[in-house]
Symmetry: C2
Subunit: 349 residues, 2 copies
């Protein structure tokens, strides 16, 4: 039986790309003078299948979950912060809440498995799979059935987002850089010491402890590292798997994705391993301060738009890059052409 | 007699900076997790003298002028493009026109000396000093009196901009990367071959010719290179001097500046040489693709916000960075604090 996440993705539209490229060449500026914003407009045109792309309608989904490995002391913040931040998202006080309001973007928060045993806060989608993953330094983080649930939670969020121009996924989960780093080590063939970073603010000793815990986990699950489903189930998190599922669903639906930072990029690489045709649908927002991020980006041949030392997650880096996409589209659509403005072209060399 | 441009600048406000720093530490995110956006909010707070800074009200002024050195074949575009682009700004079809509309920013275009002998297009401010500068590879680009006029044209634009949160200056002028590179060579003590670049699109031979023309000019004006006024008059352009004057006027009025790319940065370094107290008022938007820009930025210890391969001028790079300032301010003002949201702080290490 083939799982939904291995099924075909849409192909970017060659005609839209061609039209957008031709339009860029006619606009009143030296060829290439708008740099990456030109590439971006053309890429979006290919993904949206139209000469004039748009990034007006943006859907942001933050997936939140807890991680059993937090018990190993791998985070600078107590585990209770996952639930507290879910409440903060719901109340509108988190960074991503502020950014979504500023951008006029739809923000949805999905609890895919926090430790909270009571009702989820009003406005939060309840898709809890379990009260956190198991400690993956001792046993698999989740079962195969739980992985399916998490991937499906990602897909369901894309369905709920409806017809938008751009989908953004974010993460919340104390200890999730530990899970993302473990996955990155497996998928990149790297050692924990090369990729482990401070996350929310570990000191050097803390980073060493975190790397040691990841090394234990990699040894425990070594036999399963070549199958992406197994790696994601054994070392991932519910929110990481949900993000991967959302990206695959976007690629299958033909919806452009703007990838956030380190956690989201680990999910993106998982998604590409599960289904390589996902890759063209992913635009990359930023280079995070988390040291493993550069390696993940390189493995995906990604050229992120901004590099501002961000390391917050929650989709915040992607949200911060949205105005760049919008301005790229505005320039692409709104600038005069050499012909319409009566501006002379480049002199013959 | 001391000229207006050497007179005292305002000092950034230490109290505003302190309050903003303290606020950043209370917001619901790990310390420093918003990277350069945190620094930016604090810098703006210092410049605007208030805990909650803003980048809502933005004034953009594009200064346009022609350059006698264009006769030496140093640009990929014909000189007529300066006037054609002034008309394109006025008609709303240029990149900066589109960006200003998208940002809700005030856009003013000032002709400080194009070759146009007729009426300026409707909506353009007529501040023409002469029909272009003289060819500085043969004689001084402008006289001392013309330099005064150009600096004053910059100051007058700041006065017209009125009470805004942020001032942006842009440039238009075929061959103005040649002037900016010549100035950069003098101010940085660099050789033309190190700094000369393609501008609007010269090929390698064209860049070599441009470097040779600049080298001739540097030899001709060698005796005057240590006086910033003389360097600016002999090697600059009317729009470059006007931008320098506008930055000095902003610093004297206590108005934050967002510096555009290579041309604007050469003007910024001139302004700092004329009046070192200008420096704290300058925020830097982007790293241009023009190769000399990195050296100019390093000389001013500038950390620009974006690096997207832009090389258009017209203030476009600064305009593209404006949403980052706005989001930095929105996050600074709108995020909940640990106390208000009931979120636990960092664990004791």
């Amino acid at each position: 039986m083939s799982h939904w996440w291995t099924q075909a993705c849409r192909e970017p539209d060659a005609a839209g790309e061609r039209q957008a490229l031709a339009r860029q060449a006619r606009l009143t500026k030296p060829a290439g003078a708008l740099g990456q914003l030109e590439t971006l407009a053309v890429q979006l045109a290919a993904l949206q299948g139209r000469e004039m792309p748009s990034a007006d309608r943006v859907a942001i989904t933050v997936f939140a979950a807890d991680h059993g490995v937090a018990a190993r002391g791998v985070s600078a913040f107590p585990q209770a912060v996952t639930q507290q931040m879910i409440a903060n998202f719901a109340a509108g006080g988190a960074a991503i809440s502020v950014l979504a309001r500023a951008l006029g973007a739809r923000l949805e928060v999905v609890d895919v498995g926090s430790l909270n045993q009571g009702a989820v806060p009003a406005g939060v989608v309840d898709a809890r799979i379990a009260a956190g993953t198991a400690d993956f330094s001792r046993r698999p983080a989740m079962s195969a059935a739980q992985l399916e649930q998490a991937l499906a939670a990602g897909r369901a969020a894309v369905v709920r987002a409806g017809p938008v121009d751009l989908f953004i996924a974010g993460d919340m989960g104390i200890a999730n850089t530990t899970a993302a780093t473990a996955l990155a080590c497996v998928l990149l063939g790297a050692a924990p010491r090369e990729l482990a970073g401070p996350g929310t603010g570990l000191d050097a000793d803390g980073v060493s402890r975190k790397a040691a815990v990841i090394a234990e986990a990699l040894a425990l699950h070594a036999a399963h590292r070549h199958a992406p489903e197994a790696a994601l189930a054994r070392l991932g998190g519910f929110e990481i798997a949900a993000i991967a599922g959302s990206y695959i669903a976007c690629a299958q639906a033909g919806l452009a994705v703007l990838v956030d930072g380190f956690i989201a990029s680990s999910a993106a690489l998982c998604a590409i391993h599960l289904n390589p045709a996902v890759r063209p649908w992913l635009l990359f927002a930023h280079r995070s301060a988390e040291p493993g991020h550069a390696r993940l980006l390189a493995a995906m041949a990604a050229s992120p738009l901004i590099d501002l030392g961000l390391r917050l997650g929650e989709a915040s880096g992607a949200a911060i890059a949205v105005p760049l996409l919008r301005l790229a589209c505005a320039l692409h659509e709104g600038m005069a052409t050499f012909a319409s403005a009566g501006v002379s072209g480049k002199s013959p060399c």
